[in-house]
Structure formats: C-alpha cells, structure tokens
C-alpha cells in the first residue's frame, strides 16, 4: 500500500516538473516561432509577386486578405467571406454571407482591427459576435489580393492538395486573368530525390506563364526537359544571367506546352499539376461570384 503512494507521488512530481520545463520553453519560444512562420510566408508572397533579393516591394503595393468561412446554424449551411472595407467610418471588415448556390444572403459589419484579423481566434470570435447567436463558423481558406495603387495586381492563393504520400502545401500566384505567375511549395513529404524535386525551380517554374485557357487542358508529358527551357526556368529573375527578353521569348514558346514530368516521379508531377488546376479553377469561380455580390451590394473594398 505504501508503495502505491510513493509511486503515485513520484510520478506526479515528475510529470509536474516535465510540464514546467516544457511550459517554460513554450512561453519563451512561441512568439519567435509564430514570427518565423509569418516572415517566411510574407517573403514567399513577395517573391511570387517578383520582389526578392535586391528588388524590394514599393510602398504602393498592398496585400489584402480575404477569408472564407463555412457558416452553419439552424440546419442550414452557407458560405461567408470576410473582406476588408475601405469606406470612411466603417467597421473595418464586412462579413458577406452567401448561399451555397452563390445567392446573396446578408452582410454584417465586423469590428476588427487589422493586426487582430491576422489571428485566427480573434477573427472567428469577432465574426461570431457579428453573426449573432445560434450560428457557427468554420475557417476554410484565405486568398490574398495584391494591389498596386488600388489596381489588382495578382491573387495569392494558399492551397493544399494530395501528393504521392500526404498533402502538399503551396502558395500559388495568379494574375487578374487567372494566368499562373508563380508557384511555391511550402510543405511536402514526397520522396527525396524523386517527388521531392517538385521544389526545384526547373519543375515549379514550369507553371509560370500558363494562361487560364491553357491550364484547363494542361497535362503532364514524360519527355526530357529541353535544355534551353531548363536554363530559363533556373534563371533568377532578379539578377540572373539571362536577359529578360530572352526569358520572355522562351517562356512564351513553351506556354502552351504541357508540364514536363520529373524523372521517376510521374505521380508527384501529376498531383501538382492537377492540384494547381483545381485551385485556379475553383478560385476563378468563387471570385467571380464574390465580385458580382460586392458590386450588387455596393460594398466598397480596397481591391
């Protein structure tokens, strides 16, 4: 009997000590960790817009996040978009509620400061307050609209799709006509040396310059990558050795071609191609509906 108490007591103390050590480390490191993730994401996004290395982004460039939510309550589901508003004396954000078929259901002002909107918990709490009781919302994804002097420059689409083993996490940038301008792989678990090569410039940059029309019937070919194309794909856009004219010329000649599959990783190559296609397709459909509703309801947005 005495043994039970000693064992329970000592294990409890060990657990408490372990908890203290881990808790203290968490408190000290969490801020830096979140900051790292944010910095990386920002850097990738600016890189996709063409600002990397020595070329810094101008002050007129702004990134406006649009968050998509699934709203449920009373047995009915609907979609909601949290969009920033730019009108004077506004609450900061508007939550636009749309039916699953794209009909406008309602809009609510959401009181939220910009720095709080970046945090998922704060954002969700503010939306729930604006929606009123009996409704629940679940975060789905976000889109970042990049503007230069108020003109839409590009859309940045973080997305996820299945790869060879698990999900591949990417950020895709498309121009206002939905032509792909860049692809960056954020997280993946493909086989190193095979599917893992999707992160290499000579693969992911092949998506650059594929138009919306070309994307619809984009496939994968098992052919060796031509040398002149590879040179251009691996060329650094800001400070590379190949002139911009030559790059544009070569890219244009390949823009209608399919994606050249990676050696030994056809499945990964196809997964990325299909993933990119589906992200762009779905987005083009959604932004069309959202733009129409914003126009009809005369919601002023900064993009």
């Amino acid at each position: 009997m005495k043994d039970i108490f000693t064992i329970v007591f000592r294990l409890t103390v060990s657990c408490l000590l372990a908890g203290l050590v881990m808790g203290a480390t968490f408190v000290f490191t969490n801020k830096a960790k979140l900051h790292n993730a944010e910095v990386r994401e920002q850097k990738v996004m600016l890189g996709l817009l063409g600002y990397s290395g020595a070329k810094t982004a101008p002050a007129s460039l702004k990134l406006h996040p649009v968050y998509r939510y699934l709203v449920s309550g009373g047995g009915v589901s609907s979609l909601g978009y949290l969009v920033p508003t730019s009108g004077a004396g506004e609450a900061g954000y508007v939550f636009v509620n749309l039916g699953l078929d794209g009909n406008f259901l309602g809009k609510e002002d959401v009181r939220l400061e910009a720095h709080k909107a970046a945090e998922a918990n704060e954002r969700e709490a503010a939306i729930v307050v604006a929606l009123g009781s009996g409704k629940e919302c679940r975060y789905v994804d976000q889109t970042i609209v990049a503007t230069d002097n108020g003109q839409r420059l590009a859309y940045l689409l973080p997305g996820e799709f299945p790869g060879f083993k698990t999900f591949i996490n990417v950020i895709l940038s498309v121009d206002p006509a939905f032509a792909v301008t860049g692809l960056e792989i954020m997280e993946h678990e493909e086989d190193p040396g095979l599917g893992g090569e999707i992160v290499q410039a000579y693969f992911k940059n092949q998506f650059r310059g594929k138009t919306y029309e070309a994307l619809k019937k984009l496939g994968v070919v098992k052919e060796p990558l031509p040398d002149e194309y590879r040179r251009v794909l691996e060329n650094d856009r800001n400070g590379g050795s190949i002139g911009a004219e030559e790059v544009a010329q070569v890219e244009a000649s390949y823009s209608g071609k399919d994606i050249y599959a990676l050696t030994g990783a056809t499945i990964s190559s196809k997964a990325v191609t299909n993933g990119v296609k589906s992200i762009v397709n779905k987005f083009a459909y959604r932004i069309g509906i959202l733009d129409r509703v914003l126009k009809e309801q005369q919601i002023v947005v900064p993009f």
Partner: protein, 206 residues
Amino acid sequence: MATDKSSLQLITNGILNENPIFRLVLSMCPAVGISTTVMNGLMLGVAVLFVQVFSSLTIAIFKNVIHPRIRIPTYTLTIATWVTVIDMVLAAYMPEAYAKMGIFIKLIVAFAIITMRLEMFACKETVSASFFDGIGMGLGFMAGMMAIGFVRELLGMGTLLGYDLLGFKPLLFFVLPLAGFFCVGLMMGFFNYIEARYKSAKRASA
C-alpha cells in the same frame, strides 16, 4: 558500481566499440528511413546528441529518487520532455533547419538507443560519467547516420551536402527506404571485415 573508464574512453566507446548503429544495432528506423543525405544525418545526429546528453544527465542526477518499479515511464517522460524542448527551440531559432527536420525530431522520443543508455548506464553511474557517455553515444549515432547518408546521397543522387559532385545519379534506387536496409547491412559487414582484418594483423604481429 562506478565505471573505471576515463571520460575520453567513454566518448570513443560510444563512437567505435559500442557504436549505436553498427555495433549495438539500435535505432534502426532512423538509420534506414532518414539517412538519405549527409545533411539529414548531421541534423538528426545533433538533435539526438542533445536529447541523449540532457536525458542522461537528468536521470543520473535523479537516479536515487526514481522508484525502480516505474523507471521506464520516468525515462520515457524525461526523453519526451527534452525532445519537445528541442523541437520548440529549433522551430523558434533555426527555422530553416526545422523546416527540413521538423517531422523527424518528434520521432526521437521512440529511439531505442536513448532509453537503452538510460537503463544500462545513466541510472547506475555518476553524473559526469553519464554526461560523457551521452556525448559518446550521440556522436556515435551522428557519425553512423552521416556515414550511411554519405553513401546513399553519393550513390543515389550524385551529390554531397547538396552540391552536385557527379553530375548524374548512379543508382537512383539508393534514396528509396528499401535501400536503407541494404546500405546499413553492407556497411556493417564492411566495418566488421575491417575489424577482423585489424585484429588478425595485430595477432600476427604479437
């Protein structure tokens, strides 16, 4: 029962005589699964070195208050704590290394070599001896991982530490998980062969 080995002997013991991978044949999962490049081996080795040293120290310090009936749960708890700490520290201060190694770090909790060293060594020996034993085992593991990584990266991808050395991929098969088994087995045999030759040469000269 204190060990009579000097600190240097404890360290070399971990690297050569009782190398975790090639002699004790422990922690085979990472040795097969993660050792595709030299860099992977190095980074995982460093992480294991830290976990091993900290866990050995902790157990050696508290060995008298650990109830012998519940020592295994206590070891597991200790290892899990240090792995979590290192995971969080890496994520915060070395984000680039963490982006590559993040999913492997958490696996260290289950590495047989660490529990085994706590059970066989740290719970019986002094704090300083356990510290040097931890360093030796950690370095031995790191050296083993890097050696396997060297062979697999060079043969599988034709590169070393990411630099393209050969310009082609001699045996693409070597980066696949299956090849890890062949690689570890062949290298183990190779080291045993060298040792046997060395011993017989010594005997002949004596």
